[in-house]
Amino acid sequence: MQQPILKVENLTKVFTRKGQPDFAAVDHISFDLMPGECLGLIGESGSGKTTAVNMITRLLDPTEGKIFLDGDDITGISGRELRKVYAKMQMVFQTPTDSFDPRCTLGDGIGESLRNNGWGRSSTNMEVARLLEQCGLSADFASRYPYQVSGGQCQRAAIARALAIKPKLLICDEATSALDVTIQKEIIALLNNLRWNHGGKLTILFICHDIALVQQFCDRVLVMYKGKIVEQGRPDDVIRNPQNDYTKRLIESIL
């Protein structure tokens, strides 16, 4: 039995705000993600998907629960140890343009993880050019600023940035939601391509609220509703034979 790349146990986030009752945005979710697998996470807006991945990437501290990456407990780590973990796990954000510093070039952003891991300037520049071409952009995009490129081009650059350090796990938080349908298709094609040309090792956690996209892209799907995982299984099975009321409504609303 292989060990999962990512194992999440009882992950919970409770937001406490003054004058309002405590609110569990993510409520005791547990799942495993096997090497090479592409796992979809769907659910309506506000169901806690982003909160969940922010905890997995340790950008947000969980209220309760544990996260294991590659067998190591990463729930409580910080500083240097956490930075080491980011060489194994990367994320693509929902808003491509906002995910690059407006005062740095795309090349700076893509090469940042390499520079932080001891790469020299010229080898970083060459690798950035290679990554840009791999993601379907020409090498001269490295000197552009985020507001000088379109959303789709920026998302390609963001994928290049996420892949720069050769992570084992790639998390896409609605990476296509902010794009037009045609651009969306191109990005999915790019991800598909990278998935198989990454030595067959790239594991993807694909967050989305479009069940059709998940059906064509993912091996397995988790359905999230109000912070809980209400259903999971192969996308085809979940769509044909939903067990949970919420999933039924979700599928009906699309068909």
């Binding site: 922010n54 990437t57 980011y86 796990m89 994320m91 995910s99 940042e112 932080n116 940035r161």
Partner: protein, 283 residues
């Protein structure tokens, strides 16, 4: 339909740029003038000529002479160094201290943030100049102590701005991406946060130059800043205030200098604020 808006924006952008050039040049001239002030004076500002005391403005002495017969124009020119340099030093000090404290609070959060922000609240709640008077009174007079006193009451404004800007930067996706790239705290602060928050902070500094010049002059006027015979505009006005009814020019000359410089720096600050606003600049 969209053409007129485009034209309006262009005109606006151009006037902002022209204003920037005009006021930038004036401020620069003022600065350069104050550096070389000793060489620009028509007379020696410290030489007394009692036979020509209290002379009214004339072709020879544009601003007249004071009660010791010293040329007022020369004294005002030399005074620019103390007035302008101490003001710039003061503004630089409060900008740096306020920004450091604000970024630290915003980034670190937790109890340190609470403690420092309550302290800054205290400073903000106190009538500033009264507090500066007290500090300058305790420390004794002198330009240096006046700067310390004003710095002590003026940093909280910058700390507040830097803190709120840092907090909003912390929420941006690109800062999360920088963390995921394995950048440490210092790199994130210097490469990503500071460049993105410097705009509003610098605009505030520019707008504060005028205010701080007035407050320094005010302290000097009250005898808590520059001490005679150093020519400083505030203390020059103070020294001569008893003569205002008989020889008004000795008070008006430094007053006019303060007025003009404060105006220039305020207008430059306004212009930089307009220029930094992306709506008036476009991409």
């Amino acid at each position: 339909m969209s053409e007129p808006t485009v034209r309006v924006q262009k005109i606006k952008k151009n006037t902002v740029k022209t204003r920037l050039i005009i006021f930038g040049t004036l401020a620069l001239l003022l600065l350069i003038g104050s550096i070389f002030s000793e060489h620009l004076t028509p007379y020696d500002p410290y030489v007394q000529d009692l036979s020509n005391a209290k002379a009214a403005p004339s072709a020879a002495h544009l601003f007249g002479t004071d009660r010791y017969g010293r040329d007022m124009l020369s004294r005002v020119i030399v005074g620019s160094r103390a007035s302008i340099y101490s003001t710039l030093l003061l503004v630089a000090i409060i900008t740096v201290i306020g920004t450091v404290i604000g970024v630290f609070c915003g980034w670190h959060g937790k109890w340190i943030d609470t403690v420092l922000m309550r302290i800054s609240d205290m400073f903000l709640a106190f009538p500033g100049l009264v507090f500066a008077l007290a500090v300058a009174g305790v420390l004794g007079g002198g330009l240096q102590n006046a700067i310390i006193a004003l710095a002590a009451i003026s940093w909280p404004k910058y700390a507040r701005i830097a803190r709120s800007q840092t907090l909003s930067q912390k929420e941006t996706p690109y800062l999360k991406a920088a963390k995921l790239s394995g950048s440490g705290t210092w790199k994130i602060i210097f490469k990503h946060i500071l460049p993105n928050i410097m705009g509003p902070i610098l605009v505030t500094s520019m707008l504060d130059i005028g205010t701080m010049m007035m407050e320094l002059a005010g302290l000097s006027f009250l005898g808590l800043g520059a001490k005679p015979p150093i020519a400083e505009w505030g203390s020059m006005m103070s020294d001569t205030r008893s003569l205002i009814t008989t020889v008004p020019w000795v008070t008006f000359a430094p007053g006019l200098a303060i007025f003009v410089s404060v105006m220039i720096f305020n207008l430059l600050g306004d212009t930089i604020r307009d220029y930094a606003d992306p709506r008036s600049r476009g991409r």
